[in-house]
Subunit: 437 residues, 2 copies
């Protein structure tokens, strides 16, 4: 059996470390910096606390800009004690100023944060895993693991391979082919569990208690989830050290959504950006929308659902941070909306055709919800709005197959091309006529 | 019919522009900066010439480092006259210092330049297309096109969509599914030509002469190919403004290979790095290795071949810049080697398992050749060696299916997991025993 903790001091901290303890999100009970994630008293999630005075003395816009071209430029805000971090270039993905999608939607200041090209495995999960595995190494875990809807398994397997850690990942057995192969290629052990993500997650909690493994999103979750703050940091830096007016991001467990906002707040706290209101709006797939339902119903609790949607990467029926996501949307004057599978596919196509960004179903959900919110007058055309694209379309090719055009097959001869081109022009005109009717 | 050139001044230059003319690679005949690619006298390719004194006055390490986080930080070295460039965050991909692959191969200073996560479409082609379409827009082309083995079609379609240009791409009809879908999603016209790349390319030359389109790799080729220099620039900057001792890169048309070196030389010319020898070694798939064959045979000419390999993205039987690639390897003391399809698959797996980077068949070829060169003593363990990974494995999933392990399917119960885990451990031990026997 693998040993849980091989080091002398499982707390692992250093003089320059800025993170000080774990704190319960309900009641504030404090814990040592151990690989634990649940408050023993309230069963609430634990969160990392920092010494912001210490951070303020360590960072400035200049030190950050001179840092590595990755999430590790924000190192004082991340819960890793030693300098031995795993840096494979994760983060610093483009913030693209939209022209064509913005025009289509009638927005004047739309930006797309494109984590579909995040490194190394093309989703925002590379951020949280880079942090979690750096911390796992500090704890001395030699085997790392996760419960995943696909992207997290890709990322954990890849970064574990890079770092030379043993890896065993758990996924629902009905995942998209690209996500399964995109894990297996790194040669971890892959457990395909007959059941949905929530069942996989429950099984993993049991395994975490029995085996001494570092589960990135279970016993390492407090450290892991801090990685998502970098999606807030980067946007603020890329906007010229300013906060946006409005963000739209997907909600799965709710962690990403709330941590982006935590990132903004921390930048304010240490004086890197000016304080201002940021409205936070969330996107869910209608086939798994427990947070959007609660928002719609005006409830302050989440009723778990059984997922049934093509947006598998965000299909969490019992979201761990759902109630905090709900709170955040209310508190900031945002909204939480859902999109049907058909709208999700249209969202994927819309983003690809207007911006040249091919996202997976989660990104399609976010774009579809962005569109809905604009149409409902819930996003002001003048607001500086940032929409978060969190994963790559090459991993969920099944979702769009059958909904896009086919190539025109021709002979390698000019006249064959000319006939096909004429046909294509006619078809396009017919398409437009149908649209205009 | 689309107009070829809609602007008043088809030469398109500006006072600050650093590029001055097109020059024939054989004989040096000079041409105006038009959308042309072949010398009328010698039929040799045309290349962009620069005023390096002017560049020297425009750039320093500091101005570059303060520039955008993309290839456009090297703008004075790129043949685009106006400020209206297409910047979707292309370039500035990680240069990863290898530990685990390096150890496996017995190298001490191995770096991986990872364009498998290039933006927006996950191959180095985004570099050349960003330059070509920026220039195409200056020429006033409203329709852009290309002859492609897949990656170029992805990139042209995506960046054209972003820029709002009409797009029609040509591919061989037997491409990998991911490459076809990864083009169609942007909604261009796709012509699937019954034939290999060389036949597609010939057809496109005819179309380019007849229709007034901007073909990125035909009439725009002199501008397009300059984009590959950024793979030289970035490596030099990321090594701390130093040139490497040895590079290993794939050879398809030979353009990428030679332009990386041109990038190094230009940095020397303007005083950004110190001059030193850089050995340039090239990789081809054995099933399409006209340049490697010529190198092996000691010939100074390329005998075209009919491609037959899983490495479709580099399967060019009649490479336009093959002879220059050959020359460069000889001149710099490098080598050109080929890898079989089986070795290519092993190369993909080796890179994934040791570094967490999932590359396509072209990258597998490069890793396989790197390994061969090390084993043959043709790379010194102490040399600072950079291996170029040029595309993403999610686009060529077919190539590795059947060569990787399967997930272990289990029930969502602890005892089901435990049985599977024990089995996995036993299998792994057996694997090792087989290796040791």
């Amino acid at each position: 059996m693998t040993q849980a903790i091989a080091t002398q001091d499982p707390i692992i901290t250093s003089d320059s470390a800025t993170f000080t303890k774990l704190v319960s999100k309900e009641g504030g009970t404090e814990y040592d910096l151990l690989p634990i994630n649940i408050c023993e008293e309230t069963f609430a999630p634990l969160e990392v606390a920092y010494d912001y005075d210490k951070i303020r003395h360590q960072v400035s816009r200049e030190t950050i800009a001179a840092g590595p071209n990755s999430i590790w430029r924000y190192r004082p805000f991340l819960p890793v004690a030693t300098d031995n971090v795993i840096d494979v270039g994760t983060g610093m993905t483009p913030l693209v100023k939209s022209t064509r999608l913005a025009r289509r939607l009638g927005l004047k200041n739309l930006y797309i944060k494109n984590d579909a090209v995040n490194m190394p495995t093309l989703s925002f999960k590379d951020r949280v895993v880079s942090v979690a595995l750096s911390r796992a190494r500090e704890f001395g875990f030699s085997t790392v693991s996760c419960a995943s809807t696909g992207n997290l398994a890709n990322s954990t397997a890849a970064i574990a391979a890079h770092a030379g850690l043993e890896c065993c990942v758990f996924i629902p057995s009905d995942l998209e082919a690209g996500k399964v192969l995109g894990t297996l290629i790194y040669n971890p052990t892959v457990m395909a569990v007959k059941g949905n993500y929530d069942q996989v997650n429950r099984l993993c909690s049991e395994v975490a208690n029995t085996y001494g493994w570092g589960f990135v999103n279970i016993n390492l979750r407090p450290y892991y989830s801090e990685g998502s703050k970098t999606l807030g940091f980067e946007v603020a830096e890329q906007l010229g050290w300013k906060l946006p007016d409005h963000i739209v991001a997907p909600i799965a467990s709710g962690s990403l959504f709330t941590k982006i906002y935590k990132g903004f707040q921390e930048f304010v706290k240490v004086g890197l950006v000016q304080d201002k209101p940021v409205r936070c709006s969330g996107a869910q797939a209608e086939g798994c929308s427990p947070v959007a339902q609660a928002f719609k119903d005006g409830r302050d609790f989440i009723a778990p659902v059984k997922p049934n949607t093509i947006a598998k990467s965000i299909a969490i029926g019992n979201p761990a941070d759902g109630v905090y996501a709900l709170e955040l949307a209310h508190k900031t004057g945002g909204n939480i909306e859902s999109a049907t599978d058909a709208e999700i596919i249209e969202g994927i196509k819309l983003l690809a055709e207007t911006e040249g960004i091919f996202t997976e179903t989660a990104g399609g959900t976010t774009i579809a919800v962005l569109k809905k919110l604009v149409e409902a007058g819930k996003i002001d055309p003048d607001e500086t709005t940032v929409v978060y694209i969190t994963g790559n379309g090459l991993k969920t090719q099944e979702a769009v197959q059958g909904y896009i055009s086919e190539p025109l097959t021709i002979e390698a001869k000019l006249d064959s091309f000319e006939r096909a081109w004429e046909r294509a022009q006619t078809l396009e005109r017919l398409d437009w006529q149908q649209v205009l009717v």
